[in-house]
Symmetry: D2
Subunit: 362 residues, 4 copies
């Protein structure tokens, strides 16, 4: 239980890293949306392993098939089921992990909870599970664009202590995609790539921060008091593998300011709209979008699976040593960008439907 | 919509700051739990305004009444409804706010969303709404204690840049409650109190960080992939008024480490249990509790309502100035401690019931 | 768990027959709806015990108080909590029932499930619980009327074998309320009243059928494949105390026809609308409203609590005899009419919001 | 929206009659259950078209593939996704239906709701959608058997006015499966088969009643007041295509009895258990199972799609005539038996998990 996300735009993912495949069923997509497997594939390719020299070398085309819910190129309003077959499965790479728990990975807790585990490649706890999220996110993004020209753009803000300078108000997808680390500060990106390559060669791994902005979000989305917009976004991104922290607007740094320094004063813009001078609120006040850009950050820890030797224990409770063999992803951040975007898009789409209704929105 | 939290232990809060009252209905509480209004009152008193010289001076006893679900001192397994009447209501203090939007408050977004707003004291967006959460949290805490001796303890970790030194492994409720700012580092607490008093006199406000630890949590709680334990906790605390950030375990700081530095190595303890040497994971791996202490932090921005003059706009779209009159809370942190504890307890209790079933748990 | 109903228009009821009170929290009500306690009271008075000589003589005014969610006569879009205090509580009438299980009542199953039970007047399983439903239904009905002039009218169709002749297309609330048994066939109503009075004097009870029609329902409500409109209505009415059967349109009788006899042929009416010549579908095809009248029936068994002596057992497992003392309701049907209407209205309102969105509907 | 069923044992179906395929994702299945595609196939074969001379002649093997959630023959506790490819798709048979609405079918309402429809073979409103339900039901049945030896057995009770005599207390699956109409009264079955064949030759169709019994259900399942066991079952079976009525225990006929005639008196059996002498309650009292057999009936209307000519209208709003071409199912009842069983099993399994918890049940 726990594999469904959303209230009106409901996403249910399935699948393990090894096995028949992974995928998603999207329930609640408005009818008459034009969508194709090709459009979804674009986002999956951003998440795909082996896309560049700095990601996991697992060879997967991650080709998606739409099983249902689309007819003559348009959504039917019925569930859209999307399947990606697993291809490059190498159980032999993981045979040691059938016995030894990887430190800071989910191996031990899955065994503790379920008493059984697909130890091949991480099973359900593999980042491969996020394929379903990203595929659903591609649909959500298209709805957001069509309904209100809403854009959701993520990028790598920081790798370890290398932090890029990015203007969230103007950044474009093209700029993000202009380099393989997805940090749209070219100088910083270069240093990040070097650091990831070096760390990968050492068998070690890196973490960092993904920042994400949603622009053109209409006022009024979010459902206090529990389904506040930032609360649902927080849940969404904190359910991504390896995420350890979330902040919106001024976030943790905002706690160092006083009220008079932190408050976003109001003004009336030339069109007569109520706007805020600053945006420390991050586009949300009282759990409801205020029309300013939604801006948030997610902290990802360094990848748990590394090739360096570590102390661990076996399933049977004996202490031992482990150095992961085979494929290893030195830094998940570049691939985490589409994951974060997907979760933000799913939440926004869900709240858009709550506010405007499913069938009347397009 | 959005006023219900939890899946098996479901909490629905209601009520505005001014009006008949505020409260909560708890559905899914296991039967035969001994509970009294007095026990719930203890937690409400920790959240109560006017409890000390450094909180809002609103005079409320916040006396709770159990309307249903308890018979002869024990829960029935039926919904427990708890009501707290509003007493000290002063609509006149807020008459200006009927017209003027407080910067960084929810006034403007509520109007944008609903087209109507109870402007008396913040209405539904008032921190007064958390009374229902804290009352439900008191019940959740008791269940946690009885089922597995689980303790949930929060405390003020930082106010602005004043940070206390606290050992989350050993800290006790008594230590937290030993001073009015709820920072169990006596030296730091003293400075915090001075800063809050000074800031309050200036008509300004402060933010900071609440840290919370849950001890004795059994292995196996949490439901991947979306209802991971940290994801549900993140949603819970990010739905609290004024929260701007969340982190678990190593959090944002953990992104500065490499994998080999960050991973929690395993060992076998004297009882034969699988344990981790360090706890950068914060008690959760892959979304499932691993038996170590769950440790998390929540960032609260400085209170939006201040007495200093700020630029703002009226409902009708005219620019103006506002300096809040009447009562003003210079720092919500001491009162946020029971709120954070409540949300963490609600999530843990919900997942305990998912794992063990409602009626068989006690 | 299980005390919340609805997906976007969510109703959570609470309360036992004896105790502080009973009530409901309605979450998801659109903002800016004019509503008053008086309007809700009108429906509660139709459900109230002691309203006529043929119902239970329990003396309750069932006066409701709106605790939240309404400001200056209009809904805020926040939870509306409504409380009815218990007044005429006579635990002494029920002291025997603390030990002896009433046949076909919920006494034994509540003990089996929860291991504890409020034995005073049925506790949570009392029909008194439906106060919350009827209060919420009053709000739902008003929304339905305002949004689309939808009318929901129920009436007693049959008591035992006395069946009224009623035209569901034209029946009015005034006609239903013109007699105390709520059967708008005056001749039949007279005989029903006589039968109920006689049966009541005998200490026995009666069942029957409530029929309910919803008119002016727009096309397109209902969410296949599980949340079909008739499925949600079925759940709603089958959750009412004492209901044993549900049918929509032709129902059970329709199984005696062949396809060519049963199908509703289409035609184009003078306004160019697609209509059906007959309405054996009962206003719903494929789980979605088709614009024709929704017509359904609910079977209610004879009230379980009777004054005649019956064989039963005690809590401790000894065989014994029981003849209920004190107040006894010879026939719940007249009071079941507003309960059925409420459940139908709740479902329609929920689906209206799903289709059109919460905040844009009024 | 509306394609997920269940609270802890959650089933999400997808797929249209024509298109990539149909299937289901089951979330919340307890871990370590042995399950194979072959076991699921057994139930699918009972639902399969073309299984006998009296069902639709569509040629489908309906072979299922388990995509996820099972590892080395055992469930993982993760989502189980099951896919059945569509094979025998003949859009040409349905080309007329792209324009003409079949009377009493969902064609017109889907167009009204979604503004788009997969007109090939009924699309989402096809009975083909129930493949996912039956596959999930196969898993639920196995859990029920393993946890508490619960049996769920359905059979055809009546076709038109031909009613079989069946003892629900002793009936076996073997007896049900002993003839193609699934009515375990051999004499009646013979007449039913003859009637269906004759009606099919005439291009007409038949309805009837499926009865279903659940035996060995433990006391205590069901969650008042809305998620009562019979309410959830009612929703489940009323969401099946073509169902028009539901009753539990004495049902509609029970309304003809008085209280003293209807009540189920209690006694203590030889093992000291509290039992009822009669079972007019149908195994549920106050929404909670009482340990007696759960017995229920579902009315299915005659199949809407017939080969006889009927008056109808086109999508564009012109009156016309329609006689369905190609394949036509004269009576869905034999195939509805596994569908009803599946829905009952899903509800029981869901409530079993609510009561006992997901991971501790096997």
């Amino acid at each position: 239980m726990g594999n469904t996300f959303g209230h009106l735009f409901r996403v249910t993912t399935f699948g393990e890293s090894h096995g028949g495949g992974v995928g998603v069923t999207v329930d609640g997509c408005p009818p008459q949306l034009e969508i194709s497997a090709e459009e979804i594939q674009v986002e999956l390719d951003r998440r795909r392993p082996g896309q560049s020299k700095i990601t996991t070398p697992r060879k997967e085309s991650d080709t998606c098939e739409i099983l249902s819910g689309v007819f003559q190129g348009k959504t039917l309003g019925t569930p859209i089921s999307i399947l990606v077959r697993n291809k490059d499965t190498r159980p032999q790479d993981y045979s040691e992990m059938a016995q030894k728990y990887r430190p800071s990975h989910a191996d031990a807790t899955y065994d503790a909870k379920y008493g059984i585990r697909n130890w091949q490649g991480g099973g359900r706890s593999s980042a491969r599970e996020t394929i379903g999220r990203v595929a659903a996110g591609a649909i959500a993004k298209k709805i957001l664009r069509q309904v209100a020209n809403i854009e959701v753009i993520g990028y790598v803000k920081r790798i370890k202590d290398l932090e890029g300078v990015v203007d969230s108000n103007s950044i474009t997808l093209e700029q993000v995609e202009s380099n393989i680390v997805r940090c749209p500060d070219p100088e910083c990106a270069k240093r990040m790539i070097e650091l990831i390559e070096k760390t990968g060669r050492d068998g070690n791994s890196l973490g960092g921060i993904v920042e994400c902005v949603a622009r053109n979000v209409p006022k009024g989305l979010g459902e206090p008091v529990f389904d506040k917009l930032e609360a649902d976004i927080a849940k969404g991104v904190m359910s991504l593998p390896a995420s350890k922290g979330f902040e919106i607007g001024s976030g943790f740094a905002g706690t160092l300011l006083t009220g008079i320094e932190h408050n976003d004063e109001f003004y009336i813009d030339e069109s007569g709209n109520i706007r805020t001078v600053t945006n420390r609120s991050g586009g949300i006040q009282g759990g409801i979008s205020n029309g300013e850009n939604i801006i948030l950050r997610v902290a990802f820890k360094p990848t748990a699976t590394i090739r360096k030797e570590q102390k661990t224990v076996t399933k049977e409770g004996e202490e031992t040593l482990l150095a992961a063999k085979g494929r290893h992803d030195p830094c998940v951040l570049p691939r985490a960008v589409p994951m974060v975007e997907a979760m933000v898009a799913l939440v926004l789409c869900d709240h858009l439907l709550r506010h405007y209704g499913q069938c009347k929105i397009l």
